[in-house]
Structures are given as structure tokens and as C-alpha cells.
Amino acid sequence: MTFLAFGLRHGYKPAPVSLLELEGRRPDAVFEKQNDTLAKRHHVRIWRRPSLFRGRPVWLAAATHDVDITFLRKQRNFTHRVDPRIDLERGKIVDDLAFTGQVAAWGLIDRPPAPRDAATSTGDRIETDGRIAVVLFRP
């Protein structure tokens, strides 16, 4: 279905994402918001963490915005290119969730050791202020 959507140039909501791991673990949840083309979509991978905050589960997430499809010669595989401005995607997710009315509080927290300028495994640049958005759902 993914290749059919690619060939017909339309969207495919359940299109799979590639497997990223956090400390050797697969994501516990993946969500995406698809446009009317397979080339563009918003997606976020989410991992459950062992710690709790005030007795509630804690999750870490990596959110990026796919903006194009490219072919990797070395890996002989199609992949998406991501928008390097990942802070915009962070903001989009906070805004989307805030509009549902299910968010009790959110904020940005500094992480001085986090990288500010990096690249993905396929060479796409990542630009960020290094901060992490913290979103507390309503109990």
C-alpha cells in the first residue's frame, strides 16, 4: 500500500515509519499526521521510561516533519528527508495537543548537554535550541 500511495501520489495514513531505538528499545507508540501526499507527514516516536513523575508514567519522544522522499544509493532504499527545524515540529505537537483541552501544563526546559547542531543517520541536518518540551496531560 505504501508503494501504491507513492505511485499514485496520494497520502497513506497508516504508512509505516522506520525503526528507531532508544537504549535498545523499540518505540512503545508511533503517531503520524499525513498530508495528501506520501512525501510529507508529521510523525513522532514515543518510548516509555522506567521513571515516574508524581506517580505518573514518563515518556520520551522524537518528533520530526518529513518534507520529501529521496533514494539512498548506498542502502538502496527510499527514505524521507526531514525538515531540519525540528523545534517547529516540537511546537506543532504541543499546539495540537493543547487544542484538545487534555493538557494540564507544558513548558520548555533547557538541556545544556543536548546537541544543537547535528545530522540524522541519512545526513539530514538538525537545527534546534536544544530544549525539550514537557507536556503534562490532565489526570
Binding site: L20, L60, V134
Partner: protein
């Protein structure tokens, strides 16, 4: 946009008159009745249907609000923003600790940055994203990004 506020599309750009239009214009100069008929024809064509929307796939539209949006009562409860969270030592310790990056399973290379932390149950997450218009996706079934 029509009178009810619905977006119906963009009028096609007008570059130059067609051959038929040129002939009608010439005829209109010869007799005013022809001019009236030509204008009536244009009006009938516009009334027949709005111009088709011809955006390419993947175009993202930016909307400019002309008046305040009335949100449902539930959504109007705005979440508290930030500063209290940054003052919570336990939360800051959790949010600012590694890991900072996920690893691409196939390439065994650092990949996306961790940029959001959620606090809530799995059901909270699922309900929030689904209500915000997001869909669940499988990870790793066929690598794309």
C-alpha cells in the same frame, strides 16, 4: 470564498483573451447587443460552478483569521504554560537527563533528537493524539523515515 465563508478555490489567472473572446470583442464594437450577449455568457459560465482547486499534492495552506475563533468549552481551558515546570527540580532532572538521541536500527547510527517529554498514561497519550487528528503507525514494518 463564497458568501457562506466556504473556500471554493482560486479564479484562474487571466493571461490574455482567447480567440473566441477577441472575435466577440470585435463583434461587440460592431453592435451593442453582441456585447450584452457576451457578458451574459460570461456570467452564466461563472454561475455554472466555482473554478476547480488546482493545488499540487502536499501544499500546506496558511489561514489568516479574520475574527476570533470560538472554541468548544473543553478546549477553551487553556493549559498553564511553563515557568512552574522549569522550577520543579524533579521534573527538570527527568527532562534534562540523557538519552538525547534515538538510534536508527538498521544503520546503527544516531538519528532523531529527543525533543518532547510526556507525563501521563498510555491512554492519555493515545486519546490526545487521536483527538488532535493524528493516526497510529507501525514502526519498522518497512523503513521509510
Amino acid at each position: 470564498m463564497d458568501a457562506a465563508g466556504r473556500i471554493v478555490g482560486l479564479p484562474p489567472p487571466r493571461l490574455r483573451p482567447s480567440k473566441v473572446e477577441v472575435l466577440l470583442l470585435l463583434a461587440a464594437h460592431a453592435h451593442p447587443v453582441v456585447l450584452g450577449l457576451a457578458e451574459a455568457g460570461k456570467l452564466a459560465r461563472r454561475q455554472a460552478g466555482p473554478p476547480a482547486i488546482a493545488y499540487g499534492a502536499g501544499v500546506e495552506m496558511t489561514l489568516r483569521l479574520l475574527e476570533a475563533v470560538r472554541l468548544p468549552a473543553e478546549a477553551a481551558v487553556a493549559p498553564a504554560v511553563g515557568e512552574d515546570l522549569a522550577a520543579d527540580v524533579d521534573l527538570v532532572r527527568l527532562a534534562s537527563a540523557p538519552p538525547f538521541r534515538a538510534v536508527a536500527a538498521r544503520l546503527r547510527a544516531p538519528c532523531d533528537l529527543i525533543n518532547i517529554m510526556f507525563v501521563g498514561s498510555g491512554a492519555d497519550l493515545h486519546a490526545g493524539f487521536v483527538q488532535a487528528g493524528w493516526s497510529s503507525a507501525a514502526a519498522g514494518a518497512r523503513p521509510t523515515s
